[in-house]
């Protein structure tokens, strides 16, 4: 499931090579963890969880995907997160009718561990599969 999702996300990224998000990143779109010493801007996508919602009959699993955007300055990380939202929000990536919806875009104001760290923005998407 995780591998399928990761492949689908990367394929969606490759299929939209002319999109602003892909133009800003180049090939710096990584699964799970960024390689050490990677340059900025870059983005990392993570599978967060798959939960059986079970609220009503017929409800499937809810899959949550997180994309972390990193950039050296605040303006750039904001631009990157807007482009990321544009590319992935309401995108059908893993099957018919499974539309990803942006749940929240956190820390667009910039979150840094220390002065040496990049600015970070985390976008979380959900879909029912």
């Amino acid at each position: 499931m995780i591998n399928e999702l990761y492949t689908a996300i990367y394929n969606h990224f490759l299929a939209n090579a002319d999109h602003q998000f892909a133009k800003m990143l180049g090939d710096r779109f990584y699964a799970n963890e960024a390689p050490s010493g990677s340059s900025y801007p870059c983005a990392v996508y993570h599978y967060i969880m798959g939960v059986d919602m079970g609220v009503m009959d017929g409800d499937g699993d809810m899959v949550e995907l997180q994309i972390n955007c990193y950039a050296a300055d605040l303006t750039e990380v904001n631009e990157l997160s807007v482009a990321c939202k544009d590319l992935f929000n309401r995108a059908t990536i893993i099957g018919e009718g499974c539309e990803f919806q942006l749940l929240y875009n956190l820390m667009v104001g910039g979150m840094r561990q220390d002065d040496a760290s990049p600015f970070q923005s985390s976008l979380t998407f959900q879909t029912l599969v």
Binding site: E33, S38, H46, N68, L103, M111
Partner: protein
């Protein structure tokens, strides 16, 4: 009136964060209904809290203690080093009594759990009395790294503990809402 209408996460002070959910959002929520709802939702949120604590990663690694300009902005952290007074020979050939720390005492295991103990939940009625709010939150001044653990950083993949706990009990929260409305309607029959 909507059940679990809005769901959002806000960054709160000290780098922590919370999941806030509105239940039975309406024009005016009857006081009795709100009371029943709080009564039904409180155990669900307590379960979420327990679940989040169970999922919360607790570090078992050791940390160096003593003075660190890098960590804590130069503050002293951990345990005190074992200091002994020894006679040291200076370059000039003279002897001077100095304080030396024992290398064997430089590493100690860390009794952590700061993040785990910072997890809390509350169910309250909103000030304007139009909804009941449920909060599940983590992080405080000590566990300032809560959102880095939950959301990850450039050097570390996320290890979510709050969100899975919230969604694992999501259907129970919706059931609690339905039950509260049912109980309230029975009382008014």
């Amino acid at each position: 009136m909507a059940i679990a209408k809005k769901k959002k996460k806000d960054v709160i002070a000290h780098g922590g964060f919370q999941i806030e959910t509105e239940y039975l959002d309406g024009e005016v929520l009857f006081q009795r209904l709100a009371d029943i709802l709080i009564e039904e939702l409180t155990p669900v949120f307590s379960s979420m809290e327990e679940d989040a604590k169970r999922r919360c990663p607790v570090s078992g690694q050791s940390e160096r203690f003593g003075w660190s300009p890098r960590k804590s902005g130069g503050a002293f952290f951990g345990f005190k080093e074992k200091a002994t007074r020894v006679k040291a020979r200076l370059r000039s050939g003279k002897f001077k009594t100095i304080t030396q720390t024992s290398l064997n005492e430089r590493w100690r295991s860390r009794s952590s759990g700061r993040l785990k103990s910072s997890i809390s939940s509350t169910v309250v009625q909103r000030n304007d009395r139009t909804a009941v709010l449920g909060f599940l939150e983590a992080g405080n001044a000590e566990a300032f790294y809560a959102r880095w653990v939950e959301f990850g950083t450039i050097k570390m993949a996320p290890r979510p503990f709050l969100r899975p706990a919230f969604y694992a009990h999501y259907s129970r929260a919706v059931d609690a809402c339905n039950l509260a409305v049912y109980r309230w309607s029975r009382e008014n029959d």
